[in-house]
């Protein structure tokens, strides 16, 4: 109520009518908040509709990631932001909750991979340096699957091969890793055409499985008959064959590498499927070796040292490798009451056949081979231990024809046929040495005589000359002493000096004569001065 001044009543005056207004009449000013509210609601609705999917990424560390700031980029386009980072429940990993834009939803499939782009230095090179300035971000590689996914385990390293790279993957199984690692190069004719993507020890520990990626268009050169082999580092072989150094490239030297090649005759096959499996051979020679065909195993008995022979040493036929040693052992030969060396070796007759120039072929069945072998042994084919390299002491087994040996034959009745052997060349080396020693002895005898001759004939002359010189020098000494005393005074001393000098000159002259003579007639040392004997 408002206190009002009471006015004196004047009846003729009218009194105004008070009309209560309906309380809810609104004036135009209410448009302002209404508009504000509408705008707010509109923006909120738009923000909600624009909201893209939320994903969770697991990383082992949140290094470089900041909640609310770190971005997710695909092909350099921002598609999301990290919302929050929390430790996972088991406290072993970090869960990164990330909001993505709506348009990114189709990228989130089963095999999409995420990783943190930070500066990295590795075998594959230096990457991510730009993030030093701009801060780390999360990169992704979109997979090809069609099932969507919202929870991912992030990679700790960027994948070597992104899904959209052209080329093919192949699986290689190897005995050991050698010097290979993820990122090691793959070569074809010493040109890098791919790299190792993954490597893993087999579950049973019996080998290593590698995945390699060969870029297109080179992947079409890989066909089912292609051979893969280590091209790692330095291939140094020092065997009975000699010394060999083989290097693919500097990169292979550092990082190890794999090379592949296909025999020309297999070059036309269709290229291999994606993820086809191959064996990784230890070296080029082993890889490119054509199939050996059937092996014939023989036992050989040697009665000498087999030092330098080892499993894998080759069996040659007149220089052509036709087999290798598979085992070395010892046996007690009861008859001779001695211990003999038992060597088992594989022989691949097909290797010989491969080298055959004319169309002649080795019989391919066992039964037919026996007569052929018998004939050759009868003609003198024997196994002999030979030295491959005097430097390393390596030995190998040589098969050759020795026409003059006593007859022998292959003992087919044993479980592993026994091949006849012949003593190794080392024994004949002894003979050679003895011969050499004998020659040396003769030479020594002659040398002895020469020395005696020297003593008897030439020496006295030398001695005489030497005596002269000695005497002169002694005189010289005395004279020098006198000269010291008398030099200051008179000429006669000088004259005496001159005399002495003349004598010295004479002695020198006779010595020179001797040397002159020796020069002209060196044989005089042995044969005496010409003219003396006559």
């Amino acid at each position: 109520m408002y206190p009002t001044e009471q006015k004196p009543e004047s009846g003729a005056r009218a009194v105004a009518v008070v009309e209560r207004i309906s309380s809810w009449r609104l004036s135009l000013v209410w448009l302002v908040p209404i508009v504000a509210a509408l705008v707010g609601i509109g923006l909120a609705a738009k923000a909600i509709m624009d909201r893209g999917p939320e994903i969770t990424l697991q990383f082992s560390t949140a290094d470089g990631l900041e909640a609310g700031k770190t971005k997710v980029k695909y092909k350099d386009v921002e598609i999301g932001t990290v919302k929050s980072i929390v430790l996972s429940e088991d406290r072993k990993t970090v869960s990164v909750v990330t909001d993505l834009v709506r348009e990114a939803a189709p990228l989130l499939v089963e095999d999409t991979r995420f990783w943190v782009v930070r500066p990295r230095v590795g075998l594959a090179g230096v990457s991510g340096l730009g993030t030093l300035l701009s801060g780390s971000y999360i990169g992704l590689d979109v997979g090809k699957s069609t099932t969507t996914r919202r929870h991912y385990v992030g990679l700790e390293e960027p994948p070597l091969i992104t899904a959209d790279r052209a080329g093919r993957e192949f699986m290689l199984s190897a005995e050991d890793l050698g010097s290979l690692d993820v990122g090691s190069p793959v070569y074809l004719r010493r040109v890098q055409v791919g790299r190792v993507v993954t490597r893993a020890l087999d579950k049973d520990g019996s080998g290593v499985t590698l995945t390699i990626f060969v870029d297109s268009p080179y992947d079409k050169f890989v066909n089912p008959a292609t051979r893969f082999f280590h091209a790692s580092g330095v291939a140094l072989s020092l065997d009975d064959r000699g010394f060999k150094l083989d290097v693919q490239s500097m990169a292979a030297l550092v990082a190890g590498g794999i090379a592949f090649a296909t025999h020309k005759r297999n070059a036309d096959l269709d290229s291999a499927q994606e993820k086809a499996a191959f064996i990784l051979h230890p070296d080029e020679r082993t890889a490119m070796r054509l199939p050996d065909g059937m092996a014939q195993t023989y036992t050989m008995i040697f009665n000498e040292t087999i030092r330098g022979l080892r499993v894998g040493s080759s069996v040659d036929f007149r220089g052509l490798p036709i087999g290798d040693v598979t085992s070395i052992g010892v046996d007690y030969a009861a008859e001779g009451k001695s211990v003999v060396m038992v060597v088992e070796a594989n022989i691949y007759p097909s290797r010989l056949a491969q080298q055959a120039v004319s169309g002649s072929r080795m019989p391919d069945t066992r039964e037919r081979r026996h007569p052929v072998m018998n004939r050759m042994v009868a003609a003198g084919l024997r196994a002999q231990l030979r030295s491959g390299s005097l430097v390393t002491g390596e030995q190998f087994i040589a098969l050759d024809f020795f026409p003059k040996t006593k007859p022998a034959r292959v003992d087919w009745d044993r479980s592993v046929p026994l091949f006849p052997t012949i003593p190794g060349k080392l024994t004949s080396l002894e003979d050679d040495l003895t011969e050499a020693l004998a020659t040396l002895k003769t030479t020594l005898g002659s040398a002895n005589r020469l020395v005696q001759h020297l003593n008897r004939e030439v020496a006295p002359e030398m001695t005489a000359a030497m005596d002269d010189v000695r005497r002169t020098l002694a005189n010289g000494d005395k004279l020098m002493a006198m000269a010291d005393k008398l030099l200051a005074s008179d000429a006669p001393v000088q004259q005496e000096l001159r005399e002495t000098l003349r004598e010295v000159a004479k002695a020198a002259r006779s010595l020179r004569q001797l040397t002159d003579m020796l020069e002209r007639q060196p044989e005089s040392l042995i044969t005496g001065k010409k003219g003396d004997e006559q």
Partner: protein, 213 residues
């Protein structure tokens, strides 16, 4: 000593003449806020007993609160340096200061740019709405005293100018992106000025006196 008298001037006192029919009317009436006083003879509206724009005050305050909310939710301004994008919200700015080991400054900035303006707007709303309906707001005196204290410390307009100055400084360094927040905050600035103009202490207390307890 003369006794103090309170003076109320909401209703014009004494006689007035109807503008339409020239009737001489004696204003001895009992009217509440919102009432319309009419000529008894011709019905023309003589005047309306209106609390000075509490309706305006209310509407503007509601709008300002909505805009303040928007200004806090959406980023005010963003910067794009070489592809590195940062968006700043009002709270985010204070948090940045907090993170830079300046908690007192962070608190001061947050207070003057968000808390105190928000409090003021809420207080005005608390007061204006009942008064607009003709009732006395609860805790009126306490709120009014607090409002006097905070009125000098709300710095929305200074912050707006600060943002503009920063944008100028940054303009050639990187790409500047204006967000929804800056428009909303500018709106808040204008509305606060309008609200301040829509009532004063005298009107407020008169309204209070005239309102039902």
């Amino acid at each position: 000593m003369r006794k103090a008298r309170s003076i109320v001037e909401l209703l014009p006192e004494g006689l007035i003449a109807c503008p339409d029919c020239d009737l001489l009317i004696d204003l001895v009436i009992d009217a509440q806020i919102g009432a319309s006083v009419r000529c008894p003879r011709c019905g023309a509206e003589l005047f309306r007993v209106r609390a000075e724009s509490f309706e305006n005050t209310l509407a503007l305050t509601l709008a300002a609160l909505i805009l303040l909310l928007l200004a806090n939710v959406f980023p005010v301004v963003g910067l794009n340096i070489q592809g590195h994008r940062i968006d700043a919200t009002l709270i985010g700015a204070s948090i940045c200061l907090w993170d830079a080991d300046m908690p007192l400054l962070a608190g001061l900035v947050a207070l003057t740019t968000i808390t105190i303006p928000a409090f003021e707007l809420c207080a005005v709303l608390w007061i204006a709405f009942p008064l607009w309906r003709g009732r006395r707001p609860a805790g009126f005196i306490a709120i009014v005293r607090l409002m006097d204290f905070t009125h000098a410390w709300g710095m929305v307009d200074v912050f707006m100018l600060g943002i503009l100055v920063s944008l100028v400084k940054l303009e050639h360094l990187a790409e500047v992106l204006l967000g929804v927040g800056i428009v909303a905050y500018g709106g808040v600035m204008l509305l606060i000025a309008a609200i301040g103009a829509s009532y004063d202490q005298r009107v407020l207390w008169q309204a209070w006196e005239g309102a039902r307890p």
